[in-house]
Symmetry: C2
Subunit: 342 residues, 2 copies
Amino acid sequence: MDKKLLLHYQDLKPSRPDFRIIGVFNPAVALMSGQTIMIARVAETPLAADRDHVIVPMVRQKQYTFMKIPTMDDSYDFSDARVIRNHEQSYLTSISHFRVGRSHDGYHFTFDEKPILPETMYEEYGIEDPRITKIEGRYYITYTAVSSYGINVGLMVTDDFVTFERKGIILPFDNKDCVLFPQKIKGEYYAYHRPSTSDFGKLDIWMAKSTNLIHWGDHQVLPSARISYRPSVRIGAGAAPFLTEKGWVVVYHSADSHNRYHLAALLVDKDNPAVVLKRSKAPLIEPSELYEHEGFFPDVVFTCGLINHGKKIRVYYGVCDQNIALCELSMDELWENLGPVT
Amino acid sequence: MDKKLLLHYQDLKPSRPDFRIIGVFNPAVALMSGQTIMIARVAETPLAADRDHVIVPMVRQKQYTFMKIPTMDDSYDFSDARVIRNHEQSYLTSISHFRVGRSHDGYHFTFDEKPILPETMYEEYGIEDPRITKIEGRYYITYTAVSSYGINVGLMVTDDFVTFERKGIILPFDNKDCVLFPQKIKGEYYAYHRPSTSDFGKLDIWMAKSTNLIHWGDHQVLPSARISYRPSVRIGAGAAPFLTEKGWVVVYHSADSHNRYHLAALLVDKDNPAVVLKRSKAPLIEPSELYEHEGFFPDVVFTCGLINHGKKIRVYYGVCDQNIALCELSMDELWENLGPVT
């Protein structure tokens, strides 16, 4: 296992002169024509914020607009630096977009100038945590669309990572951590997703099926994806699943009640991804380096993509909701990490 | 407008000798071979509960099981008589199933002996609030499936209201108030649904599309369905939409922050149910009778079905989460209730 910090948030330029970047993280990755393509989430915050005001950035009708909230206004709860709430609405103090990077070696990325910005009414507060899956020659990108209409899962498709076509909301709120399987299984497309914020339900991984990638149904929970070797209050699929001789491998995240993250893996049935065959018996990747422990949101390791190179895999992941790291591990290390589902 | 109390919860017998019925309410209705068919939600609670214990009824592997919680156990919150919570889970103190009734006049119903009981892992805490839509000759029933896996929308189909085939979870948690449109629009099936429990989203009506009634996508919110003439914290589609010369009519509910309900109506575009043409300018049906004001949950009027008889409609609705009422109103009354979307 070999870890390195790949990209620091200050390596990119803000999308606007009146913004500063606070994080470049949670990247999706894919292979195209021998290159590694990365779509990084870039979180920005307005420079105009001062001690007496919080500025909430939003996109409406494809234009950035700003809401200035006096920090003296006690109808708002300012206790979380990232989210501001009043009795009827939550707002974000930063807004995320996507940036496309390209690399010949998988380590050094050159980023396109042109950002992928929030556009639709469902993306008013930003677009977050993309995942890429190549299906039948096209690249499908699931992502989190955040707005006053909730945290929904959106879908885009691209052939070149230059132009992107939005395909609407595929899973209604609150839902995130949606990954698509790269091929049909017995005639249907498959996805994992993570519904959340329920009076009753827990934060589990769910499976869904589709015949056209747009309409999803037959939702089934995977209770056996819950980790058992340490406390966990939520899990969610990370990288798009990849097929091996033993079944599908899915790298996913788990967080405890103190928001300490680690990455684990599932081996699921080749023909039925609702059946978990094996599961990590210990963390696969967990914070160990200084850059994983210290940052905007400490001890977060969050993957949205990996590249399977056969004998080894390269897991790209966000660290501390701020920067991007890479962990290379051998398939042997992965198999050794898996144990029975108890 | 003519209202009457149609069915009292004590008119039905419990499904088990150790249960008592606490509500027969929120009925779906449909026409079949000249008869009005009703599927009523029946909420039951175990007789065994005493002052010192709350009994939580659940269905596991098609068997009722019971969890006995001492009321002295202060890890639980007993403040809501309907829901018991501890730090990691919510439970219901009653469990609902469905009962099928048949009527020749739409007023007097004879109920089948055999109940439709909760069966799947998603129905552990019960099945609630059915809606029937006849599509291409078959009767599709959307319903709320409640379990420790959240509040999900399930689908059943029947040809005779004797045998019912479950088609799985069509919308993941938390979601309810799902109604299907009775015919394809431009080649696709349509539904309204109501995602809920979000950090960001409000409790709005959403639309979704499908090609097979199982897989749903292209989710779009209808912000203009929100009522404007009085406070409202949540709305949700009630009866299945019916087509008129002017467009689709949808009767829906609205509740304020004190859980005072009323029913309103939408007129939406014939070819695009995301477009609201007209909306109630005042409550269409609101609590006025003693049986609507007083009961298990006061001032609740909640419809899951209506029958369109051409010049008049019969709206069947639950009152006070306890009994079933009927309101007959003319189409003229309905049209007069509608005003511009402001």
